[in-house]
Symmetry: C2
């Protein structure tokens, strides 16, 4: 079976009209995707779907980058790609000319993720399994072969990774059973967007508690007085036991972060997320020391395994928020799951956006069953937007993700949504 | 005067046909540029030219990113841009939607550099000064106002920057006089490309010595035996006093870098450049401790001031190879010059490519006259390719850059070159 077509779409949802997703750095996002469809000559209608999440302008730049990379996928035998996912990944990130405009970061890495994830989606559909189950059923050797250890083998060698996975392998079946039954813990970001007025926050928080949520994220960083008022409000609604999470979206400098958190500490936030630049590993380390026992969480803008390696080395984060599209797709997420497990740091993936909840649930379930072996301190982000556009949307009940059962990675969008929100000519954008 | 047009060109030179520029990670680069021309309604024919260096495929992605940003420049009053270069820079890197596909890294930051540098080129031409002289004549306050201190003010505050510049200001005239007379020290990379056979390396090295060069760079990292043989060859030609520089272009992991350098140490390299991933600050720090007294140099792929801040904090580099297009243009280079000066680390800019020699000479001369106050341990890279395409090419004599005198930043390409090498429709690519 050969990959005979790579279709690349620019899909945008006009979310800025309702301030959904607003935070201190992103006041008016239009949640978007650079979206890939791989078609084959198999004749069975199965397609590989992959995407990278963007927030409006610039999606066309990621589309251009996917088009620059698509020659590496087009015309390839799919079994060859499935048999050597590590080699395929290295081809994508190692193109000797395209590498210059990264390497392994920014636009070209976002584009890599979309293509890599589309191949994994196709592979899972061919296997008739949800992606998490495909991954769980891989041998430890096959997982290791999917990972590029270049630049991380000073901290994690292939042998060490194999040992870790092999140690967990015997007990995979019991964890698979328990996660199918209980689902994976989650937290909600849908109550505390910066653009929401107080009464909406109060109403949404109370409603989320009724739905069984026990961890709630609020956006901070634009105005300290507002943050104190809103933190008091949410804490008063959720009581002392439930978790209050705070997210500054990179708004602060290092000293500013430490100072800003001082009056917020009395609301006992569980973590402060993205207090400063995602590139500032040493800055995060200093903030982490200063604000403890509040944990420092980051990762949605951390661009590759080399950066995560150092975040862990420097003890600069206590919560690893891997992003399955910011990193170069499934392969690189596997590397970071193993790095984090080796350091004993819980992975709580970045989600929300468009299709991130759908995708990362597979990776967290795999993490639990095959890598970390625990859900303690682990939660997947949940945002209640835009799921209606997906063929197999996430199902969250009682504050937990239900385990997906349909084949694939769950990122396939409905054809009518792809048509309606295609930018700039879809119906949603033509008015 | 208003900026009435932003033209963006994809210009590529087929350098891969001759293996010029070949190294361990870049075997076949086609040196290229995403090139910007700003036109105004002044009626005097002056244009702002700026570019970012690329190596072939992917230039079209950077072009798409410049087009995504150009609305921030188009229609603007040029005096407003000149009066508040810091504010203009923050507008470019702070676009609330485009920021997502960086932030401040990769394609979108390369695009930022081209636009920022084009505005500085225009400003210098309007002032009738070469860029270095425009910068030297700025007051310390104006330099500080050009810099974005966000995410670096834990190490360098605006006040500290002002103090440093003010301390140097009184003696600027004498250094300006001396640099005009003596030129700026340089080293050559033109002798040791990986794709060159031994006899060509021997011939080029000897010829370069005759031309007065005293520092020579060779590429390493593909085959250790070849590296030893070629290092012995060059050292035998240049003798014990002249400097031998080695460049691995990110080929190694951390442990591999340390091991690979062991048998090369006896040739007494002055520095090892890019031993591993440009993102691996802590890895560079470990390599630096292990290979001393060999210096660790890096920077051509270090993507912003936040990364350089940490490289300096971690003592992970001894030579700071700032890239004037990888960073977001002149403004961010100014930030790094100040960070480096504060740490006492010499800046030796990355050059070569297309137009980088032309551009960085201005920044190094400014560094000497207004910031570092010294040329000790400082050299600008020189590669003897493609200068014929520039209106005001660099002039290097006796291993030193002569100070440019024509107004602007020297990156303006000849119109006939822009036409002939335009990709894909220029004459050079049509055959």
């Amino acid at each position: 079976m050969t990959i005979v077509a790579v279709e690349v779409l620019d899909v945008r949802f006009p979310t800025s009209r309702f301030r959904d997703g607003s935070d201190a750095m992103n006041p008016d996002p239009d949640y978007s995707a650079a979206y890939v469809i791989l078609r084959t000559d198999a004749g069975d209608g199965l397609e590989g779907h992959g995407h990278t999440f963007t927030i409006g302008r610039g999606t066309e730049v990621v589309v251009a980058a996917i088009e620059a990379l698509q020659g590496i996928v087009l015309g390839r035998d799919e079994d060859d790609l499935f048999a050597d996912p590590g080699g395929f990944w290295r081809e994508l990130v190692g193109d000797s000319q395209l590498r210059w405009i990264g390497p392994e970061k920014g636009v070209i890495h976002l584009a890599t993720a979309a293509l890599v994830n589309a191949v994994w989606d196709l592979r899972a559909k061919r296997a008739g399994k949800p992606l998490w189950k495909l991954l769980v059923d891989l041998s430890p050797e096959d997982v290791v072969r999917s990972i590029d250890f270049r630049y991380i083998d000073d901290v994690l060698t292939p042998t060490q990774a194999l040992d870790l996975l092999t140690e967990r392998a015997a007990t995979k079946p019991e964890r698979e059973t328990s996660i199918r039954q209980d689902g994976y813990p989650a937290y909600t970001t849908s109550v505390g967007w910066l653009g929401y007025p107080d009464d909406k926050i109060r109403r949404l928080t109370a409603a989320a508690m009724d739905d069984g949520w026990s961890a709630f994220k609020m956006k901070v960083g634009a105005d300290q007085g507002d943050d104190v008022r809103r933190a008091a409000l949410i804490r008063s609604v959720i009581g002392p036991e439930r978790l209050l999470l705070m997210d500054a979206n990179q708004r602060w400098g290092v000293d500013e972060a430490i100072a800003w958190m001082t009056p917020l500490a009395r609301f006992e936030p569980y973590w402060i997320e993205e207090p400063t630049s995602p590139d500032d590993i040493l800055g995060h380390a200093r903030i982490a020391r200063a604000v403890q026992p509040i944990r420092v969480a980051t990762g949605e803008h951390v661009h590759n395994r080399v950066m995560f390696k150092q975040y862990l080395q420097a003890e600069a984060l206590s919560v690893c928020q891997v992003d399955a599209c910011r990193l170069g797709g499934v392969n690189e997420v596997l590397a970071v799951l193993l790095l984090a497990a080796r350091s004993g740091v819980p992975v709580c993936p970045h989600a929300g956006g468009v299709g991130l909840c759908e995708l990362v649930q597979h990776l967290s379930i795999f993490d639990y069953v095959a890598v970390s072996g625990s859900t303690a301190g682990r939660m997947i982000e949940y945002v209640g937007h835009l799921h209606e556009h997906f063929v197999d949307p996430v199902e969250v009940r009682g504050g937990r993700y239900r385990v997906p059962t349909r084949p694939g990675s769950s990122v396939e969008m409905r054809p009518e949504s792809l048509g309606r929100y295609r930018y700039p000519r879809g119906e949603a954008w033509r008015r």
